[in-house]
């Protein structure tokens, strides 16, 4: 059924609402004016200012490293959890296992952050590890959070795929390990890749959990941005937004193009 004119108009109005603030933010990044969202002629000076802002650059570099490492750990853990939930059938404590695996998806961020910080403090008191808080504790926290998302994606992907392929491989004499490596792992691969990207972006975007579990040495980009935005907006934030949106847009464009080409 074709949607009516009202629905069409409402849909585009919704997209406009989502997009207009972002497009304006990106557009005014190229303005020379020192007041954000004020046009003062075309200029790239705020990109220069961004490149010279060493604190922000250091925070961005730290964030990228934490995001990449935590996404890898999340894929390992979440891949395992999703595989267990999709392929192991009933086992003792399965309901508990599933509930724990899904908990980070529904718990409020402030609660996750507080809980993990208290855990790290308790562990340091009991066994002396991890000593102090910073990049490493953020990495662990983000990995746990990301693993929950990866597990959902992997479980859904494996639930879709027939189990008979793995069974056929084993009937033909493959050991479970060989069957896993040559059948299951390739089946899981797209979900693992999507999960890595999701865990990576979630980590790059998180300010609440990171604020709780970071020490003075763990200033990530969102933490730095958050304290900047508390004081108001500066044109450097516009420049950063332009870089992020254009970067993500380019990546998405390439992905869509590849998808379209494969289908054609």
């Amino acid at each position: 059924m074709k949607p009516g004119g009202f629905v069409r108009a409402a849909m585009w109005a919704g997209f406009l609402f989502l997009w207009l603030p972002i497009l304006l933010l990106v557009g005014f990044a190229f303005s020379a004016d020192r007041i954000p969202f004020q046009w003062g002629g075309f200029s790239l000076r705020w990109f220069g200012a961004l490149a010279a802002n060493e604190k922000l650059l250091a925070a961005a570099w730290l964030s990228l490293r934490i995001a990449a490492a935590s996404a890898c750990l999340a894929v390992l853990l979440g891949g395992g959890i999703g595989f267990v939930l999709a392929r192991f059938g009933p086992f003792r404590g399965r309901a508990m296992f599933g509930a724990l695996a899904g908990a980070p998806l529904v718990l409020p961020e402030v609660v996750i952050g507080l809980c993990l910080l208290l855990l790290f403090v308790a562990m340091e008191g009991l066994i002396g590890w991890p000593s102090g808080r910073g990049a490493f504790t953020i990495l662990l926290a983000h990995a746990g959070f990301g693993a929950a998302y990866v597990a959902v994606l992997v479980q859904a992907r494996l639930a879709e795929a027939e189990r008979s392929l793995e069974e056929a491989a084993m009937d033909l004499g493959a050991t479970p390990l060989v069957a896993f490596r040559s059948i299951t792992l390739p089946l899981m691969a797209p979900a693992l890749m999507a999960g890595w990207l999701l865990a990576f972006t979630l980590s790059l975007d998180d300010v609440v959990i990171a604020s709780f579990v970071s020490g003075p040495a763990g200033t990530t980009l969102p933490i730095a941005l958050f304290s900047m935005l508390r004081l108001g907006l500066t044109p450097e934030v516009n420049a950063l937004a332009a870089l992020v949106v254009l970067g993500v847009g380019a990546m998405l464009g390439v992905a869509l193009w590849l998808l379209g080409r494969r289908r054609a």
Partner: protein, 275 residues
Amino acid sequence: MRRGFLLAPLWLWLLLFVAAPVAVLAVMALATPSDGVPPFTLGLRFAAFAMLVEDGYYVEALFSALRLAATTAGLCLLIAYPMALGMAGVRPRWRLPLLAMLMLPFWSGFLLRIGAWIGLLRDEGLINRLLRGFGITEAPLPLLYTEGAMLVGMVHAYLPFAVLPLFTALVRLDPALLEAAADLGARPARVFFSVTLPLTLPAAAAGFLLVFIPAAGEFVIPELLGPPEAQVIGRVLWQEFFQSRDWPLAAALGLALLALLILPMRWFQKLEAEQ
């Protein structure tokens, strides 16, 4: 057993990093705040919980968080329904690009989007300059740090979560049902209210909860866009932890928020299981 080699480390991780932290939260809520580092001494004291119940400030913080979350989720659904209808109604080859358009703002950085709203809404912001430029207002309207700014920011941040389940349900909806209703003489609005809406109600509920649950604990948006008096639970917990350094009280607030969210969470899991 072989499977144990995979299960054991995963169990260890889940117990250590998911189950144990919640247990530690409960232990902390019973501790006593102190001036040491870390600022507490363990004990069995219910003072933090007593404070929660007796001090109207904390009760109000819980309720205003639930109100904010419900309003946000309701507004999101209202905007999401026509968007999802429109997206499900386009030719299949256009669905993926539209989905990308829906999700790209989500990938563009949560804080940056809030920054955009600050730039639009503040006294010297774009909206106020336009209003003055057209001679509609003389003094800048106070837009930023208001309930309205907070709501706009919340809806903007959470809208995609409400659209996705609705879109999925609408794409799966059997078009024959809609055609049958139309053939029997129902007008489009009637088709929507007597066929589409009842059949997608579970998806609408899922979308509502998908927004409601994280919105109830939201801290960043009320802090950056809301008025100082918008003391929602996420913000109060943050202040008790970082400013007052009363860890037991913050832990008790966290437990209270969890307790309030248990019903919506179970409902959401039930909806997910049914799909």
